[in-house]
Amino acid sequence: MADWKEAGLTAEDLVGMYRAMLLARRLDERQWVLNRMGRAPFVISCQGHEAAQVGCAWALTPGKDFVLPYYRDLGVVLTVGMTPREVMLDFLARAEGPSSGGRQMPGHYSHPRLRIVSQSSTVAVQALHAAGIAYAARMRGEDSVCYVSFGEGAAQQGDVHEAFNWAGIYRLPVIFVCENNKYAISVSHTKQMAVENVADRAAGYGFPGVVVDGSDPVAVYRAMKEAVERARKGEGATLIEAKVERLVPHSSDDDDRTYRSREEVEEAKKRDPLLTFAERLKKEGLLDDARREELEAEVKRAVDDATEYAEKAADPRPQDLYTRLYATAPAVGGEAAPGA
């Protein structure tokens, strides 16, 4: 594992990172419980990606830097400031949910104040939005950077390449993060591309591509910090590829047994970043069992509170279907109306 002092992290940072990973994991687990109880139709998980996500987000300045997460990035959005209550409101599609007021599926994060940009289900499109946001930031003299992520499957979309190209030509302050978990639903990375690393493609666009161990939040943080510094200095984009494991099926709709052996999943679970990072912190004397249990309890309280709050919150009303279609009211016809 990477040296945390050299990476510029404090002991407090490390425990903070662990707590963020833990919170993401426990919220995620709770979502599965609610799903299995029939109270929520859909879960898409961050499990196995937490170290990569928290490592990345730790290097951002919340509210200043733009965040274009993809659907697994629960660890990212929590780290930059979304609250468990907000996450659960979105998860249960409540009217009060900050991302979409119940319009979008879980995992489609949006939070204007935190500069978390609304996401589509259509994979990879956000890479181009990131380039545009970064272009605008630079033009307006801001020194914000733009984080944008996607899986190794999504990386095969033409839009990602077009985004790389803009970032290269205009030396844009974008950090592309590919969370490579070796599967796109059922399809192995070996069927997605003929090369080992998505990061190898960055050279073709004139900026660095970096491969990091996505189970090590410190290594990820270090790569990200460097990328953020380059970006802020006007030196352009970086592509970071974090090699991670997907510990669960693609989503609550998936069953991975036809395409993934149980042994492989068991092997992956041994490298669960939550376990390995906790062990390391323990070894380095930064987190004893008592503190860890305290954190667990604290996180559980937050998850319970969020669940309870969100479960009580109101659903949107039928008439909410028709609102906020346009930002500028149209000159004829008014708001959208029922289609009858």
């Binding site: 979409s100 979008q104 994979v123 009303r317 039928p318 028709y322 289609g339 009858a340």
Partner: protein
């Protein structure tokens, strides 16, 4: 005849055509090992091998574009778009390329390609804005394509076989709610259902309802309900939008003089507009009431929350209400 679900019919059509003709291949995201996210292609990779059942990279433009190339060189590809919503990255390949090869080469080349797309949403689908869209109006506007939306398992199998054997690109739309909830008799052996003719599913003298896909079933339910109170509906299954069976549509409209067009897709510039326009052109002098459309509203899609699903989607009750109003006009 055995009863099958809609998705079994789709599966069987692919299976039988692949067995019959070695030039038929299937490509798409997760269609291989996973058998498709809806399991339409379960078992096919085991049976036909991974050269003919291809788990593609996650890039729809390439799925369509590569399939076009295959079709140009002697294969008969079935390209699956995992969700119709994700056909838009491939829109250029479908619109500019697949649809135009034959015409632009003055008949020199042709593209025997089927693009299968699960579409639509509604209560219980939980597909939200990007796993629920109806996309037929976009594709039906493109000359050179054929665009069909079977409603029954019988048609699903017969029309898919016809589509695979057709030498033109066919957009084949499968409603997700139909997959497991719609059952019907499906012969075991080989048969095809031609791409084009509409089918009158029920006859009645008061109101003519035009519908397709899953909405056919909601319309038939509505008609059944209305019949109890003496309102008799003709229900026309417009299972092909391109070509469109103008003759059957005009005749069915003239028959009752009262027309209701139903679809789940957004209202404006939707497929219902074309049907209504044809009625206004071909049956106007027979009409006793304004044409009426009952459709999804003009918002981007079906919100995830169940409240939105119910509010957005036409159903038997809404259809019955609209048809009754027409009958009483």
């Amino acid at each position: 005849m055995p009863e099958k679900t809609f998705i079994e019919a789709i599966h069987d059509a692919m299976d039988e055509e692949m067995a019959r003709d070695p030039s038929v291949v299937l490509l798409g995201e997760d269609v291989g090992l996973r058998g498709g996210v809806f399991r339409a292609s379960t078992g096919l990779i085991e049976k036909y091998g991974e050269r003919r059942v291809i788990d593609t990279p996650l890039a729809e433009s390439s799925i369509a574009g590569v399939a076009i190339g295959m079709a140009l060189n002697g294969l008969r590809p079935i390209a699956e778009m995992q969700f119709a919503d994700f056909s838009f990255p491939a829109f250029n390949q479908i619109q500019s390329e697949a649809a135009r090869f034959h015409y632009r080469s003055n008949g020199g080349w042709s593209v025997p390609l089927v693009v299968r797309m699960p579409y639509g949403g509604g209560p219980g689908v939980h597909g939200a804005l990007y796993h629920s869209q109806s996309v037929e109006a976009f594709y039906a506007h493109i000359p050179g394509l054929k665009v069909v939306l079977p409603g029954t398992p019988y048609d699903a199998k017969g029309m898919l076989k016809a589509a695979i054997r057709d030498d033109d690109p066919v957009i084949f739309l499968e409603h997700k709610r139909a997959y497991r909830s719609v059952r019907g008799e499906v012969p075991d052996g080989d048969y095809t259902v031609p791409l084009g003719p509409a089918e009158v599913r029920r006859e009645g003298r008061h109101v003519t309802i035009f519908a397709y896909g899953y909405m056919l079933h909601e319309s038939l339910r509505a008609a059944e309900e209305l019949a109890k109170s003496g309102v008799e509906c003709t229900v026309v299954d417009v299972r092909s939008l391109k070509p469109l069976d103008v003759k059957t549509i005009a005749e069915a409209a003239r028959l009752t003089g009262r027309v209701l067009v139903v679809h789940e897709d957004n209202r404006s510039f939707g497929a219902g507009a074309e049907i209504a326009a044809i009625v206004a052109e071909e049956a106007l002098m027979y009409l006793d009431a304004p044409v009426r459309r009952l459709t999804g509203p003009d918002v981007p899609g079906i919100g995830f929350n169940h409240v939105f699903e119910v509010e957005f989607t036409p159903d038997a009750a809404k259809i019955a209400r609209a048809a009754r109003e027409l009958a009483e006009f």
